[in-house]
Amino acid sequence: MSTVSWITLRGLFGRRRFLLLLPLPLLLVLLAVLSRSLGVDADDWGPPVLVGLGLAVVLPVVALIVGTGVLGAEIDDGTVVHILTKPLPRWQIVLPKLAVAAGVSAVTVAVPLFVAGRLADSVRLGLSLAAASAVGALAYSALFLALSLLTRRPVLLGLVYVLIWEGLLSSFVSGTRVLSIQQYVIALADRLAPTELLHGDVSVPVAAVMTALISVGFTVLAVDRLRSFSVAGETS
C-alpha cells in the first residue's frame, strides 16, 4: 500500500465522520430483512428499497462522505500541506486517494446492496447491484474528490447534485438523466441481471461511456487543480 493511501485510510477511519457511513447501509439491510420477513411482495418493496434508498441515497451519500473526506478534510484542517510538500507528481496523490475513496465506498454500499438484492430476487441480482454500485462508487468518488478541489463547500455542492439534480430534476426533466450517475448504475445493474425491479432510463453503452468519461474526466481535473493548489494566507 502506498504511503498516501495509508495516511488517507488512517485519516478516514481516525475521524468520527466515518461513523456517518454506518446508519444508511444498516437501514437498507434492515428494511430488506423486515420486508422479506413480513412477507411483503418483492415487487412492492424492491424498487423503493433497492433504487429509492440503495442507489438514490445510500450510494451517493456514502460516496459523498468518503469522497470529500479523503482530500477535502485534509484541505480543511491544513494537513494536506504535508503531502503536497513532497516531490510527488500530483497524480500520485490523487490516484491513491481516489482508490481509497472508491474502495471504501464500494465495500460500504455493495455489501448491503448484495444482501438486499438477494432478499428481493436472487444472488444474481445481488451481485449485479454490488458490481454496478462499485462502478458507480468510482464515478461518484472521482466527482466528489474533484469537487473538494474546485470549491470550499464540496459537501453542499455534492448534496445539490445528488438531491436536486439526480433526485428532483431527473423526475421531471428526462434529459437530465443522461448526466446522472444513479441512472448509469441502474442501467448497468439491469444489464447484468435483467429484472422487473429495475428500470434503466439510459442505454447501457451510454451508461458505460458516461461512467468512464466522468471517472477519468474528474480525475484529470483533480490532478490539474492539485498542481495549482493554493494555500490561503493568513494575511489574505
Binding site: 504511503t3 495516511i7 500541506v81 516531490p87 489574505s236
Partner: protein
C-alpha cells in the same frame, strides 16, 4: 547558484547550498495588495522575515514555498520556479504557521511517512535522525494528538527536515512555545544555518529575530521596508523620533522650555495637551523631569504614542 560546502553540524558530510530568489514579486487579492514588488535573494544562513501582523509575511512565504502563484514576478529556487513544480521539495522544506498535523499518527509514524513520501533510501534511519535533531525521541511513539503545541511544532519541523533540505521556510515557528522550547528551536535554526542551509523564518517579534538571525528582511504593508544586517536596522529603529503626549499643570510653559532641549525635535500644543517629538528616547525621558522641576511644572501624564511595532516598521518605510 549551487555550491558545495562542508556541513558538519547537521551530521552529514557535505551539503549542496541553495539560493531562493524573488524577482519583482507581487500578489494581490482583488483590489487588496498583499505583497508589493518584493525582490530578494536568500542564501545560506538564517534570515528573519520580520513584520507586523498582516504585513504579507505568510503570503510571501507561501509564494516561496510554491503554494501560491505570484500575481506578478517570479520565485525561483536555484533558477527553477517554485510554483507548479513539486520537484523543488527535494531541496525545500516548509513549516507552515497553521498547526496542521495528523493527530492520529505518532510522531515517528508522521516523520517516517514524510521520509517515505520523499522516497528516501533508508526512511527509518532518516526518520530517527530527524526526530533526534528536534529531541523528540522520548515521545516519538505517542500520538501527536496528545502533544503540547511546542512538541507538535517540533514534530512538524522533524517532518520538514527529514530529507535534509537545503532550504527551510518556517512561518512564525516560535508561536505557542514556552521559553525553553524557544531556546531549543533557536539553537536548532542556528545549527542548521551554520551548516550551510538557507533558513528563513517569519516573526512579528523583534527580539526573536534579534536572537536568531543576523540578516533580516523587514516587511511592512506588503512591501520590503528594510533588508540587511539586523544591528544596522535595529539602530535605525532605536534612533527614530518618538512621539509623547504630555499632560502637566502648565503645558505652555513646559512647551517653551522643551523647545530649548536638543533631544526635542518638535512640540505641538493643543487642547488635548502637549505633543512632543523626541529624537533621542533616552535623553528626552531623562531630561523631562529636570525641566519640569526647574520650571515648577508638575507632569501629570507622559504617554509614548508610537510604541507599536507597526509604527516602528512604518518609520523604516520612510527612512
Amino acid at each position: 547558484m549551487t555550491t558545495i560546502s562542508v556541513d558538519q553540524a547537521a551530521g552529514t558530510p557535505t551539503t549542496v547550498t541553495s539560493t531562493l530568489d524573488l524577482a519583482g514579486v507581487s500578489r494581490w487579492y482583488g483590489n487588496v495588495v498583499a505583497v508589493n514588488d518584493v525582490s530578494m535573494s536568500l542564501g545560506p544562513g538564517v534570515t528573519g522575515l520580520l513584520g507586523p501582523n498582516g504585513a504579507g509575511k505568510t503570503t510571501l512565504l507561501h509564494m516561496m514555498a510554491g503554494f501560491l502563484a505570484p500575481s506578478r514576478g517570479v520565485v525561483t529556487l536555484d533558477g527553477r520556479p517554485t510554483w507548479r513544480n513539486p520537484e523543488v521539495y527535494r531541496r525545500l522544506g516548509l513549516v507552515s504557521e497553521r498547526e496542521a498535523v495528523h493527530t492520529f499518527l505518532t510522531a515517528y509514524e508522521f516523520v517516517l511517512a514524510s521520509a517515505k513520501l520523499h522516497r528516501l533510501p533508508d526512511p527509518t534511519a532518516a526518520a530517527r535522525r530527524a526526530i533526534a535533531l528536534v529531541e523528540l525521541e522520548g515521545a516519538q511513539d505517542r500520538r501527536i494528538g496528545t502533544y503540547s503545541k511546542g512538541m507538535r511544532q517540533r514534530a512538524r519541523v522533524a517532518a520538514a527536515l527529514v530529507h535534509e533540505p537545503q532550504v527551510l521556510l518556517l512561518d512564525e515557528p516560535f508561536n505557542g512555545m514556552d521559553p525553553r522550547q524557544r531556546l531549543h528551536m533557536m539553537e536548532l535554526l542556528h545549527r542548521l544555518g551554520d551548516a550551510g542551509r538557507t533558513i528563513l523564518f517569519s516573526s512579528h517579534i523583534l527580539e526573536e529575530v534579534e536572537q536568531v538571525s543576523g540578516t533580516v528582511q523587514v516587511m511592512v504593508a506588503g512591501r520590503l521596508a528594510a533588508s540587511g544586517d539586523f544591528r544596522t536596522i535595529r539602530r535605525l529603529m532605536t534612533n527614530r523620533p518618538h512621539v509623547f503626549t504630555v499632560h502637566s499643570t502648565d503645558d505652555r510653559a513646559l512647551a517653551v522650555a522643551l523647545m530649548a532641549e536638543a533631544s526635542v525635535t518638535g512640540v505641538e500644543l493643543d487642547r488635548a495637551g502637549l505633543t512632543v517629538r523626541a529624537g533621542d528616547y533616552g535623553a528626552f525621558t531623562r531630561v523631562l523631569p529636570k525641566i519640569a522641576l526647574r520650571e515648577g511644572v508638575r507632569v501629570r501624564q507622559l504617554v509614548p504614542q508610537d510604541e507599536s511595532l507597526e509604527s516602528v516598521f512604518s518609520y523604516l518605510v520612510e527612512a
